[in-house]
């Protein structure tokens, strides 16, 4: 039986460092820099990048031959497609006209930050 080649741990340390930086980045973007409607997509993007790193290096997918290496990136691609298509719809919907003050009446307990921006708001991308 061939002896397994001993590998250096420094590669894993490097990946761990990148993961740590991405975690700090998520915290900074979420608390210090207000990204508005871009906050959620950016946070998800960082989370996906971290997942890819964990799966490729710590779960050794990067060392697999042939088709097995393709499985994970394809899964990520399709997840991105599902979320991307849905988020594009959510961000470009035309908001139905509502009388002033109805939001508080309808949804008194829901934080204002989680509500859809009203038409004409600079934070809305399209569909106003």
């Amino acid at each position: 039986m061939a002896e397994e080649k001993k590998k250096s741990a420094w590669g894993y340390v490097g990946v761990w460092a990148v993961l740590a930086v991405l975690t700090v980045l998520t915290w900074v973007l979420g608390t210090k820099l207000k990204l508005g409607p871009m906050g959620l997509p950016v946070a998800l993007l960082i989370a996906v990048a971290k997942t890819v790193l964990v799966a490729m290096f710590f779960m050794h997918l990067v060392e697999q031959p042939g088709a097995r290496r393709v499985v994970f990136p394809v899964s990520v691609l399709f997840l991105a497609l599902l979320m991307g298509g849905t988020l594009i719809d959510a961000m470009t919907r035309i908001r139905m006209a509502r009388p002033d003050g109805i939001e508080d009446e309808l949804e008194p307990k829901r934080p204002a930050s989680t509500r859809t921006e009203p038409p004409g708001s600079p934070n809305r991308w399209m569909g106003n």
Binding site: G66, L82, I88, D89, M91
Partner: protein, 540 residues
């Protein structure tokens, strides 16, 4: 080599080497599992067909005819659930794919035989749970389980949702098994460019099954949680979004159309070659278009949601992307017709179904381009026009291909032939009956008849009567098929090893095949369906 010796049938076949009930129930033979799936999907077709017939009889008159409005709601839901989840999705991949795919590749079995058997029992468990839900109190949401109604419906929807969720695992396992089999079990000489196009079609389907089905499982589980725990994910009053359900549901269910249609296209390719005595025109383009459809199919789910409240911007994108599917489908249709052109056509029953398939796919496909146009779809949405469209493209295509496969591979599976004249009559009845059933529904939809309505205006009655008459023809045709195939199983003349003179690789095994498909290693030294080289029938 002596051709007569090569063409001899194996004395011991997968049917007679073990005959006890347990040998079937615990079998790991892909052929027996394929036959068990075949029985399961035919039973589902019968059940779904009975519900359809009751619906059509109810709609004979504008007012109440046979059943109450609530029973009617349950009937169309059960018809849809059974036909989509229990028949059309597993029909060709799980039944015929299981039976012929390993033989076509020159393999003894699939890569994971135990998992293959598990897949059948998971399908059975899901089907039983679904049927239990139906017997308990049925469901009245339609097969699409749209929120918010599905979260509050008083009917016994939860077991049906969980049943479909379980069936999804069977689909995923079968897909994984086929992908692995194609990658690892090909016999020497079976290069990637020699793989039969039916196998390519099943491979493309398997990719969709593996990638998309988990999303369906997730959304069905979420609806169950909504019903049982009040999770609020789809409830606007709690910050949820009912349109989110449609996004997740159609992300699976639109590609699911291709889970149904791609294997059907694979069958059509095999049958066209066999009965035109020609190799396929444009092998690489057909294989590539299979993956084109599989890929583009994932970018078009939003065309089901043009009136759901989805943004106009997104609807525009999905409308344009949906039309791309027509390009890849057209490639296949042109190639099938080009294969037949100049071929030595032998108009047998399987080819008759192929001609029916091409007509229905063309008609359904063209109306598909029409409903992908946002402005037109707003007029036709939720009318009988859409019902007719998806029955033409999805049901018509799957049924025609299923029947073509059943008649083409019947001698291969059971070693018997069926009466040609009766099968010809049944095929003509079914193709004609299908057109008569659904063509009036295009007209009804255009007149504004909404789908799933119990009553309708008097002036629409003649079209409904015509549709019911067509459905009766369909029922007669299926009854005829059941009678002569059951007769053939016991009394039909014994088949030659290759009764069609086909050059498909699956005919290299006996009819019916030996327990491990081949008694010696098969040799693939020519292209599949190459009719240009002289060759005596041979069985390995």
């Amino acid at each position: 080599m002596n051709p007569s010796a090569e063409s001899s049938q194996p004395a011991i076949t997968y049917l007679n080497h073990e005959t006890s009930v347990m040998s079937w129930l615990l079998t790991r033979d892909h052929k027996r599992i394929g036959v068990m799936f075949l029985v399961g999907v035919i039973f589902s077709l019968l059940l779904g067909g009975i519900f359809a017939m009751v619906l059509r009889l109810e709609l004979l008159t504008p007012g109440p005819t046979l059943i109450s409005p609530m029973t009617y709601n349950r009937m169309f839901t059960l018809h849809g659930v059974i036909m989509v989840w229990l028949f059309m999705i597993p029909a060709i991949p799980s039944a015929f794919g299981n039976f012929v795919l390993p033989i076509m590749l020159g393999a003894k079995d699939v890569a994971f035989p135990r998992l293959n058997l598990a897949s059948f029992y998971i399908y059975l468990a899901g089907a039983l749970l679904t049927v239990f839900g139906m017997l308990w109190s049925g469901a009245d949401t339609g097969w699409t389980f749209y929120t918010p109604y599905s979260t509050v419906s008083p009917s016994a929807l939860t077991p049906i949702l969980l049943g479909v969720f379980i069936i999804g695992f069977s689909t995923i396992i079968t897909g994984l098994n086929f992908i692995t089999t194609v990658h690892t079990m090909r016999a020497p000489g079976m290069h990637w460019t020699r793989i039969p196009l039916f196998v390519w079609a099943i491979y493309g389907t398997s990719v969709i099954q593996v990638v998309a089905t988990p999303v369906l499982g997730m959304v069905l589980l979420l609806v169950s949680m909504e019903r049982l725990l009040g999770a609020g994910i789809f409830d606007p009053s709690r910050g949820g979004d009912p349109v989110l359900f449609q996004h997740m549901f159609w992300f699976y269910s639109h590609p699911a159309v291709y889970i149904m249609v791609l294997p059907a296209m694979g069958v059509i390719t095999e049958v066209v070659c066999a009965f035109s005595r020609k190799n396929i025109f444009g092998y690489r383009m057909i294989a590539a278009s299979t993956f084109g459809i599989a890929f583009v199919g994932f970018f078009s789910w939003g065309h089901h949601m043009f009136v759901s409240g989805q943004s106009t911007f997104t609807s525009g994108i999905f409308g344009v992307l949906s039309m791309l599917v027509a390009i890849f489908t057209a490639i296949k249709i042109f190639n099938w017709v080009a294969t037949m052109y100049g071929g030595s056509i032998d108009l047998r029953v399987p080819l008759l179904y192929v001609l029916g398939f091409i007509f229905l796919l063309m008609f359904g496909g063209m109306t598909g381009v029409a409903v992908a146009t946002t402005s037109l779809d707003v007029h036709w949405h939720d009318t009988y026009f859409v019902v007719a469209h998806f029955h033409y493209i999805m049901v018509g295509a799957v049924l025609m291909a299923f029947l073509a496969a059943l008649h083409y591979w019947w001698p291969k599976m059971f070693g018997r032939v069926y009466p040609e004249r009766w099968s010809f009559l049944a095929a003509m009845t079914i193709i004609f009956g299908f057109i008569v059933t659904f063509l009036p529904q295009f007209l009804l939809g255009n007149l504004g008849m909404p789908r799933r309505y119990y009553q309708y205006p008097q002036e629409m009655q003649w079209l409904h009567v015509l549709s019911t008459a067509g459905a009766s023809l369909l029922a007669f045709g299926f009854g005829l098929i059941a009678v002569y195939l059951l007769w053939s199983l016991r009394y039909g003349p014994v088949s030659a090893p290759n009764p069609w003179g086909s050059r498909g690789y699956e005919w290299f095994s006996g009819s019916p095949p030996a327990p491990h498909n081949f008694t010696r290693a098969p040799s693939f030294e020519r292209e599949v369906h190459d009719y240009t080289v002289p060759e005596a029938p041979r069985v390995y």
